[in-house]
Symmetry: C2
Subunit: 222 residues, 2 copies
């Protein structure tokens, strides 16, 4: 049986944050949605609770949400990422911080990965050296998370990080989404590869009018 | 029924080139292995023919191999890539040129994607503007290609490119490896995302002692 965590979702009013908050809550984890505006966070929490038919989710300012949690999910836009992370540095220290942030660009030819020397996850680790940063949940489609409550059993959550214990906790947490433990995808720096892969998935979604996901063949976890 | 092509494999003496040459030949495509040394190419061709129990594969210099083919697979190391492509520019012009080149670095922490503004596939397109460059076959493990003759039906070949007709031909060709048409992964620039994903797969191979591969969920191709 997996451990129960109190999870703050920073950026919980966006579609990816909302979808993951819903799945975490469905799996029994108390969730605190964070937003700049506590009232807006509470509205989104009420929306998720209505769907859950439970009161598992609450809303708060980002700082209060992070302060009350033992695991933090950063589900914020890349635009403004460094400022937001810096503003929460005090509260993020020593916590398991999951980044599912995707630094993407969009133009007339569709989505693409920005040319960056470090990933969003690495940026968070640099800005908050005491945080236990893990990259995960980049590739699960927001609508697939929200539209049903069925586990996305055909997909895999790829988890990267340099803190093996934190990584293992997040691998367990992935079961809330896929029904199975996430895959250890290696060191945190490989977030540079995982994050922009989302551009390829969005491109396929447009081309095939679908919600695509990633599965890894040949790997068996827990 | 898919069309038969004469396929040159530049870098056909390396493991990825050898594995893909074997699969293309197995699917009925005449293959010409290219190498700097025609004698070495012929030795590798003999090795593949012995496994095929047929004479479908021949060896030649890179320039002769490319000159005689209608599709060229570049399966060469990133180191020296620009020089090699430039040296073959005349022969590559107007051909369908598949790049499966992965610009990776390796150090004590394992594999990682190099920080580059353009992918190997984009570099080839820039160096040979008349070539019809397609990125594909980055993620299929060399040993999985070589060790059995079973189609890798659980895996997907992701194909990117800006020439829709060339891309479609390569999607068909993917059936030689997976038994099904490859997935249209979007524009050529997304090779920047596809190529270094191989670092994640190699990392998982070490962690799980396996040969991992990629599958895309939610997409159905012909």
């Amino acid at each position: 049986m997996n451990q129960i965590h109190t999870i703050a979702v920073v950026g919980g009013t966006g579609p990816q944050g909302r979808g993951l908050a819903y799945r975490f809550a469905l799996a029994g984890h108390p969730v605190i949605l964070g937003s700049r505006d506590a009232g807006r966070a509470q509205e989104k929490a009420d929306e998720i609770n209505a769907k859950l038919e439970a009161e598992t989710v609450s809303g708060a300012t980002n700082a209060d949400a992070v302060g009350a949690a033992d695991i933090v999910l950063l589900a914020v836009p890349w635009d403004g990422h460094a400022d937001l992370v810096s503003s929460l540095a005090g509260q993020l220290a020593d916590k398991i911080v999951i980044s599912c942030v995707n630094p993407l660009g969009f133009d007339a030819d569709g989505p693409y990965g920005l040319v960056l020397e470090e990933s969003a996850a690495q940026e968070t680790q640099r800005l908050v050296p005491q945080a236990r940063v893990v990259g995960a949940f980049h590739h699960v489609a927001a609508l697939s998370l929200w539209k049903t409550q069925d586990a996305l059993t055909h997909e895999d959550v790829l988890v990267c990080g340099d803190d093996d214990e934190a990584k293992s906790v997040v691998q367990d947490l992935a079961a809330a989404v896929t029904g199975k433990r996430g895959i250890d995808a290696g060191r945190l720096r490989l977030a540079r590869q995982l994050e922009p892969l989302t551009a390829v998935l969005i491109s396929m979604n447009k081309r095939y009018k679908t919600r695509s996901g990633v599965a890894i063949t040949g790997v068996q976890e827990g």
